[in-house]
């Protein structure tokens, strides 16, 4: 499959009260056309920052200090001014944000917010933009679109509001859709509807989608490929089944082990000890080492490279080095599928 977007050695820093915070520490990522990639990580792992840097939406105190983002023959990492981003942000790469409450302007009718997005990028007349906006509302599953066109965001439920946000994102027929926790604020049944909607639209419009989420259920439901992030780095990536059934990085092990579905009897739910490292200081060795029960001596001294686990499946851990002692995946994960099959007959 063709690579549509290529991130290489990306580094992002923020200045916070005179200190430098390294939010992304050399992240590389290939995004293939028409795939769904899920980026998984805890808060502070840098997943949102990574996504924001793809559309030049970093906060004022943040900047890309190294690396490149190749997209359609351009390097997005070199774009500085808003005017340079015009033809890309929203038009080719669009974002669906977590909270539909704050992504929409509460003072303006929803229809005109969709209309604006169409007009801004295509310069169409008001009338034809309006027609397109109503079509988009129908496409994202809003019944009676023509009559709801002139309603305000507060007149919509949370799920319907998220549909409007999706309609705005799709207004310019983007190639890449970035979804930043699009269902975290929604109820499960609404979440299911929105996930179905996005995957339906993806097929119909040939979209490439990046999902950011920390919900492993959502990952299993939508992703073709998965990238796991920790402390500003991607530590493992591969096909969705590679990650769930054959994961090799101890952090991925820990994440999957903390699924409540794997809690047995009186043992409680697996908890990852300690806290993520501070990103204000340089990190020596593997960032996960202090919390990693399988850490080797070298983990505290030298940063591991990526090792190949299988086709298209790589993990950044010294455990994969041929010289490392053989460590098996935690027992609970060796038969993850069997265990879950028992619970969800």
């Amino acid at each position: 499959m063709a690579v549509i977007l290529k991130v290489e050695g990306l580094e992002v820093e923020f200045s916070v009260r005179g200190q430098r915070l390294k939010a992304i520490r050399k992240a590389s990522l290939d995004l293939y056309e028409k795939e769904t990639l899920a980026i998984v990580g805890e808060s502070g792992s840098g997943k949102s920052v990574l996504i924001k840097s793809l559309t030049g939406m970093l906060e004022e105190n943040g900047e890309i200090t190294k690396g490149s983002i190749k997209f359609e023959g351009m390097d997005l990492a070199t774009l500085k001014k808003n005017s340079q981003w015009q033809g890309i942000r929203g038009k080719k790469i669009a974002t669906v944000f977590q909270d539909p409450m704050t992504a929409l302007n509460p003072m303006r009718r929803v229809g005109s917010q969709i209309e604006e997005a169409i007009q801004l990028h295509s310069g169409e007349s008001r009338k034809s933009a309006r027609k397109k906006a109503i079509e988009l509302m129908e496409k994202v599953g809003i019944e009676g679109a023509a009559s709801r066109f002139s309603q305000y965001p507060h007149e919509f439920s949370g799920g319907m509001r998220q549909r409007i946000v999706i309609a705005i994102a799709l207004a310019c027929q983007p190639k890449v859709l970035l979804c930043d926790e699009p269902t975290t604020a929604l109820d499960v049944r609404v979440q299911a509807q929105i996930l179905d909607l996005i995957s339906g639209l993806q097929e119909e419009l040939g979209l490439t989608v990046i999902y950011i989420t920390h919900d492993l259920g959502v990952v299993a439901s939508v992703a073709d490929r998965v990238a796991i992030m920790y402390a500003g780095q991607i530590v493992e990536y591969g096909g969705v089944e590679d990650i769930f059934y054959r994961c090799a990085h101890p952090y991925t092990w820990a994440l999957l082990s903390s699924l409540p579905q794997l809690a047995f009897g009186n043992e409680g739910i697996y908890a990852i000890g300690g806290t993520p490292p501070s990103l204000y200081h340089d990190i020596k060795g593997d960032a996960f080492a202090p919390r990693n029960p399988y850490a080797l001596k070298i983990d505290f001294e030298e940063e591991p490279p990526f090792f190949k686990v299988g086709d298209g499946h790589y993990a950044k851990t010294w455990l994969m080095d041929p010289r490392a002692p053989k460590v098996k995946r935690p027992k609970a994960l060796q038969n993850l599928h069997g265990r879950l099959k028992e619970i969800y007959p």
């Binding site: 949370g158 499960v188 299993a220 439901s221 579905q261 409680g268 739910i269 099959k341």
Partner: protein
């Protein structure tokens, strides 16, 4: 026979002229975790708050240890509720007083109830409470903003636990937390139950978590309870269509199972569910017309 600690009988709460919850009948037993599950706006938090006297009760009774505690009017009754029932909130960022240090936040309850003889004993109690949630006694002099989200939630738990309550209403205590921190907080709550035998009313919308911490689960839809069952029974044999659609909407963290799964239709009826709760198997109640 298990002893009922809190009994809710025919509870109805109206706010601003609107009926938010009605006909709620729910006993909570000693030492059990009962989870109240439903979508946003279903009224689950309203019930929790009504138990504590934070929402007015329009009809029905709330009986704690044999005493009626709905709409507590007298000072003595209010203190009775405060001493025995504590609350843990969803958002650890907004439920702690940012201007007070942790020592003050945690000891406010025991100060109000004069649960100590001298300053040394107060310090000792606060230190104990902090240590019981995995923090250090010296953290007492710090302020909430100096802690991470998970640590702040533990401060909230310490504040509740220092009162040695018999019932804790935990309103979405883990939804704002990361996956790995969630486990720490849930395990902590379970340990407290084992050692102190207290009861939890756990309010949540995430069913996958609820399954592993609850003894019983009550499902609420638009202000009415539609099903109550022991946790495993509810998951293995959900009988009300609403429960079925909630469970089938839950994504399974397994790509193969998730691909094969068929979702139950989502009943989109706006009507308040009607009928009466009928016991279809021991301890398993379903709302039937």
């Amino acid at each position: 026979m298990k002893k009922i600690l809190l009994d809710i009988k025919g509870l109805e709460v109206c706010l601003g002229g609107k009926t938010i919850v009605q006909d709620i009948n729910l006993p909570i037993y000693e030492g059990e975790t009962l989870s109240l599950v439903g979508e946003s706006g279903s009224g689950k938090s309203t019930i929790g708050r009504a138990i504590l006297g934070l929402n007015p009760v329009s009809r029905g009774e709330v009986i704690f240890d044999g005493k009626n505690i709905e709409n507590p009017k007298t000072k003595a009754l209010k203190r009775f509720v405060q001493e025995n029932i504590q609350m843990i909130f969803q958002d650890p960022a907004s439920s702690l007083n940012e201007r007070a240090n942790v020592d003050y936040i945690i000891s406010e309850g025991i100060t109000n109830f004069k649960r100590y003889k001298n300053e040394a004993q107060r310090k000792h109690l606060v230190g104990q409470a902090l240590e019981s949630v995995g923090l250090l006694a010296e953290h007492g002099s710090r302020y909430p903003h100096e802690f991470s989200g998970g640590q702040r939630q533990r401060i909230g738990i310490a504040r509740a636990m220092i009162m040695d309550p018999r019932l804790i209403v935990a309103d979405e205590p883990i939804s704002a937390l990361d996956v790995s921190i969630r486990a720490q907080v849930l395990n902590l709550l379970q340990d407290f139950q084992k050692t102190r035998g207290l009861s939890y009313l756990f309010i949540a919308h995430d069913l996958s978590v609820v399954r592993y911490i609850s003894h019983r689960i009550a499902v609420i839809q638009k202000g009415r309870i539609v099903e109550i069952a022991p946790a495993e029974t509810l998951f293995n044999n959900p009988l009300h269509p609403y429960t079925q659609s909630l469970l089938s909407a839950l994504p399974i963290p397994d790509p193969i199972l998730e691909r094969k799964k068929k979702r139950a239709l989502h009943p989109s009826s706006q009507a308040i569910p009607s009928g009466t709760l009928k016991e279809v198997a021991p301890g398993h109640f379903v709302l039937r017309p």
